[in-house]
């Protein structure tokens, strides 16, 4: 067994000890994971973003407009001192403002208009079963949306519609839950397989 597999196996077991209860071995492994993960992201961000997109183009190629994001980024560090804390509002203003400006048309297009156009599709274009499915989808979208309409009390027709919407929502939550559990289970099976085959060499 190579040294890497030994370390990976020990750390995998250390994390699994949490299944018994919270314990020092798990907390030590968890702390190591947090530190190493942050260190990894730091190195990758430094190399791929700050060096490749900022420092190399700015100082080697003389791409001077990049001084703007450099200054904005430096202003972020103002947060560490009470007197300069307000400076960090400028990079935040650029991020939030540009994000909002881009989000209005993008969200309207991708999240609203495209979803509506995918819902309202022609009938009698395929089989009868396809038409039934189309009607169910249309009914599901309308009733679920009515569930989120809070400007009027949910009574009468709106009450019936929102109640039906609850059933569609529960169906969605149940399905999502089932698939999430199965994806986690397949990851778990992968870890157990690693422990039994590579680490303990009991199978394979």
């Amino acid at each position: 067994m190579d040294f890497g597999t030994l370390i990976a196996g020990i750390l995998t077991l250390a994390i699994f000890t949490f299944l018994y209860r919270d314990n020092p071995i798990y907390r030590a492994a968890e702390s190591l994971l947090i530190g190493v993960s942050i260190g990894y992201v730091l190195v990758i961000t430094w190399t791929n973003t700050l060096m490749d997109l900022l420092f190399h183009p700015l100082f080697r190629r003389g791409d001077w407009p990049l001084v703007i994001p450099l200054l904005l980024g430096a202003m972020m560090f103002g947060r560490f001192y009470r007197r300069t804390g307000w400076l960090s509002r400028f990079p935040m203003a650029v991020l939030i403002g540009s994000g909002a400006g881009v989000a209005i048309p993008a969200m309207l297009d991708a999240r609203t208009l495209r979803q509506i156009s995918a819902t309202v599709t022609p009938l009698f274009a395929g089989s009868a079963w396809a038409d039934v499915s189309t009607i169910i989808v249309l009914a599901g979208v309308i009733t679920t949306l009515s569930y989120f309409y809070f400007s009027r009390e949910h009574r009468g027709a709106l009450g019936f519609s929102s109640k039906t919407g609850t059933y569609f929502l529960m169906l969605f939550f149940g399905t999502t839950f089932g698939y999430t559990v199965m994806s986690r289970m397949s990851t778990f099976i992968g870890r157990v397989e690693f422990l039994l085959t590579d680490f303990l060499r009991l199978t394979g």
């Binding site: 890497g4 990976a8 750390l11 299944l19 030590a28 492994a29 968890e30 702390s31 994971l33 190493v36 993960s37 260190g39 730091l42 190195v43 961000t45 973003t49 900022l54 990049l66 994001p69 904005l72 980024g73 972020m76 804390g85 307000w86 400028f90 650029v94 991020l95 939030i96 403002g97 994000g99 909002a100 209005i104 048309p105 969200m107 309207l108 991708a110 999240r111 609203t112 979803q115 995918a118 819902t119 169910i136 989808v137 009914a139 599901g140 059933y167 529960m170 169906l171 939550f173 149940g174 399905t175 839950f177 089932g178 698939y179 559990v181 199965m182 986690r184 990851t187 992968g190 870890r191």
Partner: protein
Amino acid sequence: MRRKFPQLVCGLIGLLLFVVYFSRHPIASSINETVTREYWQIVFAFALLVGVVSFAKINLQGIERGEDRLYRIISLVGLISMPVLALIWGIGTGSPFMWVFDNVQVPMQSTVFALLAFFVASASLRGFRARSGPAFILLLAAMVALISRSDVGDLMSARFSDFAEWIRSNPSMSARRAILIGIGLGSLTTSLRVLLGLERTWLGKESK
């Protein structure tokens, strides 16, 4: 001044990018590309640096106070070791940096992810009770999804997976679609509130 000026910058840059989105002029595309591809990434990278410094600061203060000293030291050792390894041996394939990533970070990360299977399953055992109509539908949909993804589903009926897939891509999808439409409309109104200066929580509290 310390609040109004950033607010003005936010509104102006938001308006600029909103207008630029509808233009096919090369300058407009260039502005959009530069801000959303380069500036965003660079400012986010600096925000990450601020986060790392803050993480180190909080842990050092905790060590000084003697709170969870061992665990905080382990975290800091993990944090420092990665840049040090990268600095000495680089980050190429086969480097010690990638060795730590492959043999320490990846196994632990996927094990933590796998642990959630148990917690989700135990939470469902406690929470899934068919007390009402909607709760019964929730339970039923979850069972159908679980069974369809295991061999039991195929043993029960060859068409069971098709039925589960139909539920996923029709009635379940309709609720998802409604939620997405809601998210879209919610994002739209929040963005408009930000640009018009009605939403100011991002400015934080006024420091004295």
